[in-house]
Amino acid sequence: MYQYDEIDQRIVDERVAQFRDQTRRFLAGELSEDDFRPLRLQNGLYIQRHAPMLRVAIPYGVLASYQLRKLAYIARTYDRGVGHFSTRQNIQFNWPALESVPEILAELATVQMHAIQTSGNCVRNTTTDHFAGVAADELIDPRIYCELIRQWSTFHPEFAFLPRKFKIAVNGALEDRAATWVHDIGLHAVRDDQGEVGFRVIVGGGLGRTPMVGVVVREFLPLAHLLTYLDAILRVYNRYGRRDNKHKARIKILVKAMTPERFQREVEAEWLSLKDGPATVVPEELARIAARMTRPAYATLPDAVPERLQQALEHDKAFRRWHERNVHAHQVAGYASVVLSLKATGSVPGDASADQMDAVAELADRYGFGEIRVSHEQNLILPDVRQADLHDLYRELKALGFATPNIGLLTNIISCPGGDFCSLANARSIPVAQAIQQRFDDLDRLYEIGPLDLNISGCMNACGHHHVGHIGILGVDKHGAEFYQITIGGNQAPARLGRVIGPSLGQEDIPDAIERLIEVYLEARLHEEERFVDVVERLGIEPFKAGVYASQEREVLYA
């Protein structure tokens, strides 16, 4: 985690004071609702179905245990004892009172946290690989660059009022766990032939109403030019992005309308004037950020699998399963990263209670170096656990309900809050997720089905990333009733968008439909290694469509 210096702290404190004043004036009737809306949104505050919703930034998904305790405290004191981890590595509180939000922000500031730009038409929280800095397949640790971007984007004077929201993701590993191809800007940290760090720059990806995979505008951008190049992209977008229709306002629409070639030329032309200017990154700054990043004091451990772990793997079948699914390879010998599943059957995907947060914070202190990660799959991660301790940790997690061995499997459902909370929703998503989890509760069956990403969004905004789920479920509104459209064949990395299999279905038909999809898959797969999404790729959607709709005896309502 990056630790603030006096200036970082002052900027956040001044923001709290500013928002306190704005809220006071709004409540006193001195600021109109129209004025206050964009201002509160830039502090992560929505007015939702039941109450305001406050979204707190977790920069690139890294949390210290004392920060998680503070989140637990806030959940307990100002909310109903629950927080919801979102697909953007943030946390949302669904029940705070508007009057207490300045107080909450002040509490957050005491642990170097904030809600700055977690909403609104500005540059949002930068996201990255949840295993950044620890993944065995990592080429370059992206966290320093994420922090550089965080500072650059925080209160950027020119880009506070963009045509629409703007999301940046950075990846530095072999596997793209940051969904970089479906962000407004995706950055791949890479090295050139000389070993110098730079970025492949991808622009114009995104989900939502018009899902698109981004295009590469630069194969290699040297690190020194990162911020000036971002300035150039944002300036072209800020000036020429559409502002007349919010559904056509994202940068992906501009890139498409201009054509990627022309867009790229505009950016390069703009960049010529900014290049080598004062925003050029200097190595001293990278060193300064690196020095302020907490680094775990790893012990020197042997490379071999510890005896204790070996024993437990041999004798405890449930542990073996969990180890296979929820434990991720670490770059330091003798360590592993552990995913805590927030997706137990019957749970609300991404929800954690205050007590659970406290418990996780304690585990992070005892089994790691006091650090926790939030994944965009809405799970929590203990990044640095000694392999020899895995079995002990497993038993504790089991007692807490965090040891469901379903990471990468069908019930590790990504779901947005949907109609239960979100005022934009067409349909609820949580009950659908729960019904599917219940249907596929049998672990043996889950394992037989193998790797499968199932993502649910309550509306076109696609916060649940349904387009890139192997199976995607989208809430749609049909004459005021809740219906669901199913897509299959989506994939996060490499990014592919799912295809709609047919008319939308009612809520009670969804578990059956998923069941049919799985039957078709199991029937058709050539061997166990062939995943659901591979079969869709090989056979297309037709057999699946037939499977779902042929057996649909109920009346099907056509979209």
Binding site: I7, N121, F161, N238
Partner: protein
């Protein structure tokens, strides 16, 4: 005559806005014209003795007045909504790319909350929307004592200034 904020002081606005025609203009009056009128009446405006300003909408980029900047005393950027960030880019371009040194005024939906960003983008004058207190709005310029990025107000980004601080602490001359 209206009052506005210029260089952190509350002053009277001496300009008159003339959008369609220069008819009836006094030789010494300070005048703001539209880009179209500026183009159409170039010769006459060259002879004009009062100060000369031009009025841009946020949809109009600085390119359209680039050739005239040398003879302009004022550029007004009019925000029909404070959330239209195009005006922020216009201001930076005018200051940083075209080197405009005259008065750069934000008008329209301008109030206390918007001043901080506008000022960092290069606006030095603010004509507030009706009903806003100028004294109150002045406070909007001092909400933040620091900023990370390079801007018109502070060319050097925080990361360079941090370095200078370190250097001067280590090496007190």
């Amino acid at each position: 005559m209206l009052e506005l904020i210029r260089d952190r002081a509350i002053v009277r606005d001496t300009y008159h806005l003339r959008t369609d025609t220069l008819d009836g203009i006094l030789p010494e009056e300070d005048v703001i014209v539209s880009p179209a009128l500026l183009a159409a009446e170039r010769a006459r405006l060259d002879q004009h003795q009062g100060k000369l300003g031009v009025w841009l909408e946020t949809s109009e980029g600085p390119e359209i007045i680039a050739a005239d900047l040398a003879r302009l005393d004022l550029v007004v950027v009019h925000f029909s909504s404070f959330t239209d960030g195009r005006g922020h880019s216009t201001a930076r371009l005018l200051r940083e790319r075209y080197g405009f040194r005259g008065e750069l005024r934000a008008a329209g939906d301008v109030f206390k909350e918007t001043l901080h960003y506008l000022s960092r983008c290069g606006f030095n004058a603010f004509a507030l929307r009706p009903g806003e207190s100028l004294t109150h709005a002045l406070g909007g310029l001092d909400v933040f004592s620091e900023a990370y990025q390079t801007s018109v107000e502070r060319q050097s980004p925080l990361f360079r200034r941090r370095l200078q601080n370190v250097a001067s602490e280590e090496n007190p001359l």
